[in-house]
Amino acid sequence: MNITQSLFESEHICLGPINYDKDPEIEARWSEDADYLLMVGLEPARLTSPAQIKKKYEAIEKRQEEDKDLFFFTIRMRADDRLIGFARLEWIDWSNGCGYVSLGIGDPNDRNRGYGTETLRLLLRFAFDELNLHRLTALIPEYNAAGLRLFTKAGFVEEVRRRQAVNRLGRRWDLLHLGILRDEWEAQRAPNESTRERLTSF
């Protein structure tokens, strides 16, 4: 056990709360980016004003409080607390130890810099070390090559292929369920992070 281990910071980024003063303006800009919307969800693209986004944040926090099946994070740069994206652990099924994970990096200039990988590493540690879950699932349409790479690199494997479940860009695409089990995550985490190492160094 290492109770001083940071759950929310990694090298360049950190997980943080919603900032109601600053974040709605930034997310409203992202809602105009069709590529971003294509990658982060299966909902129809929808232009969203800062005021609507504030309401959405309120609904998210209400759900966190009442349903206890959601952990919502903003992704921010450690250096200046700038918002770069969002991450969720949700639909948590406590009695079976399962949950779903998703994340998105909003600005194209912040993509392909390893921030998603850093975020996912924090989310996995939070899900397995803090929430004590047994497994996590990510739902990724087959056209999202960057998402598939991100999760595969982190140790997720394809478990389900819902054929032609996504209707986008004028054609049908499969929807993949990628999964990772707790022991798979334990086996591939860095040696200096392993439970045994941490126990002996405590």
């Binding site: 399962c98 497994r135 478990e159 389900v160 054929r163």
Partner: protein, 193 residues
């Protein structure tokens, strides 16, 4: 031509009567095997009153959710339920859930027959593109029934269930509109229609 959407070979689908259905659910919920085959939540013994409130609320969500009672053909005995939840009209996707609550009615083909009716409704009436379902690996009887109705296994979420200290997989199955059409054609040919 008589084209009854809601009558099959063994069963018929009927509207949900909230009072009748809630009394049935109150009883079915006490059958732990039924509950453990049905879903991944810890069974809760809700009162008929509470269940009725839920059913009435759910029935108002008519644009996303299509709920039916299952009766044997020409009988007034409520034996189960089936419901279609449209996850997205944009993608033409729905999930289906079905249960035969009365144990004496298991293994009689009622579930398969009712599933065929609801698939016909999903594809012919709602014009959906595909229908999905989740089923537990320890429920081979249901898996066979879904396969008979035309579903194929699309994968398994490993160890997604923990019961009596043992992990089991959850299978995801799916059927496409085109597969269902092909199956209808083949059945008609076989019957010389």
């Amino acid at each position: 031509m008589m084209n009854d959407l809601f009558r099959g070979e063994l069963t018929r689908l009927a509207a949900v009567d909230a009072e009748k259905m809630s009394k049935a659910w109150e009883r079915w919920n006490r059958d732990v095997l039924f509950r453990r085959l049905l879903d991944n939540e810890p069974p809760t013994l809700w009162s008929a009153k509470k269940i009725q409130q839920w059913i009435e609320k759910e029935l108002e969500r008519g644009d996303q959710r299509f709920s039916f009672s299952i009766y044997p053909l020409d009988s007034e005995r409520l034996i189960g339920f089936v419901e279609l939840n449209v996850a997205s009209w944009q993608h033409g996707n729905a999930w289906v859930g079905i249960g035969i609550g009365e144990r004496e009615d298991w293994n009689k083909g009622y579930g398969t027959d009712a599933m065929r009716l609801v698939l016909r409704y999903a594809f012919d009436e709602l014009d959906l593109y595909r229908v999905s379902l989740g089923v537990f690996a320890y429920n081979p009887r249901a898996i066979r029934s879904y396969q008979k109705a035309g579903f194929v296994i699309e994968g398994r979420e490993r160890g997604a269930l923990l019961r009596d200290g043992e992990r089991s997989d959850v299978l995801v199955m799916g059927i496409l509109h085109s597969e269902w059409e092909a199956q209808q054609g083949a059945m008609q040919e076989a019957s010389g229609g």
